[in-house]
């Protein structure tokens, strides 16, 4: 189930350029002392082949739901304050930000741990796919298979 948005977090998919400053301002609070951010952007090559551009697609409703799950888990695991997790979709040029994460906390250790956990988990579990365009064609990037339950629990409640 999609957890409700709490803690005044920003969790979203965007088709326009991401504005990091806006997100940093959003998570910044007078009670905190530390913000750690992760900015993932488009590299100019992949496996030594020059990249032209990327195209990101998502299973959008499920992706947002998984991103909210990450946010909920971060608040449970770490003493953090506000969060922003934003992923861009569509065509992205070299140097453009595809994902931006900002975490504020009273102390820096929690902010570092939470920010890193967020991007590591996002890359493993959020249904987003990247197609890489080169001079001589396009390929879907290698990725990670998300962990899934191996068997369905027997007695499912009727929904």
């Amino acid at each position: 189930m999609t957890p409700p948005l709490t803690h005044d977090d920003i969790i979203e998919l965007l088709r326009e350029p991401i504005d990091p400053l806006l997100l940093i301002q959003h998570v910044r609070a007078r009670e905190d002392g530390a913000i750690v951010t992760f900015d993932g952007f488009v590299r100019n090559q992949s496996h030594n082949r020059p990249t032209l551009y990327l195209d990101y697609e998502a299973y959008e409703s499920m992706a947002v739901s998984k991103m909210r799950e990450i946010a909920a888990e971060l608040h449970k695991k770490y003493r953090i304050h506000h969060l922003a997790i934003v992923h861009r979709l569509g065509r992205l040029e070299i140097g453009e930000t595809s994902v931006f994460i900002a975490v504020s906390a009273p102390h820096r250790a929690a902010a570092f741990d939470a920010c890193r956990f967020a991007i590591d988990t996002l890359k493993r579990t959020v249904p987003i796919w990247k197609k890489e365009y080169f001079e001589d064609g396009a390929v879907w990037a290698d990725g990670e298979l998300p962990p899934a339950p191996v068997a369905t629990p027997r007695a499912e409640p009727a929904s």
């Binding site: 189930m1 999609t2 993932g40 990101y56 697609e57 998502a58 299973y59 409703s61 499920m62 992706a63 739901s65 992923h87 595809s98 994902v99 991007i119 996002l122 890359k123 493993r124 579990t125 959020v126 249904p127 987003i128 796919w129 990247k130 197609k131 879907w140 990037a141 290698d142 990725g143 990670e144 298979l145 998300p146 962990p147 899934a148 339950p149 191996v150 068997a151 369905t152 499912e156 929904s159």
Partner: protein
């Protein structure tokens, strides 16, 4: 009395390279025999034999949760077949 044959209508989605293989990203399907996600995938693999070779590198979702392949389907369910994710 013969057993009641029930029609189960599900929404099926394909993403990434699976969408390219199947040639479409989404369809609504009336199932007569298939009753699990595994059987639903097998149905598509009959239609598009190339799909079968992706089976081991696909994860399924059931109503937007990662699901096991033995999950039983009900009318109105949404099933998606997802290749390895590469966001970030």
């Amino acid at each position: 009395m013969p057993p009641v044959s029930q029609t189960v209508r599900v929404k099926v989605l394909f993403f990434g390279r699976l969408k390219d293989v199947v040639g479409q990203s989404e369809e609504s399907l009336d199932l007569h025999d298939a009753s699990t996600i595994e059987q639903l995938f097998a149905l598509y693999s009959q239609r598009i034999p190339e799909l079968a070779k992706y089976r081991s590198s696909v994860v399924a979702s059931h109503n937007q949760e990662f699901a096991s392949w033995d999950a039983p389907l009900r009318s109105g369910d949404e099933v998606a077949f997802l290749p390895p994710v590469s966001g970030g």
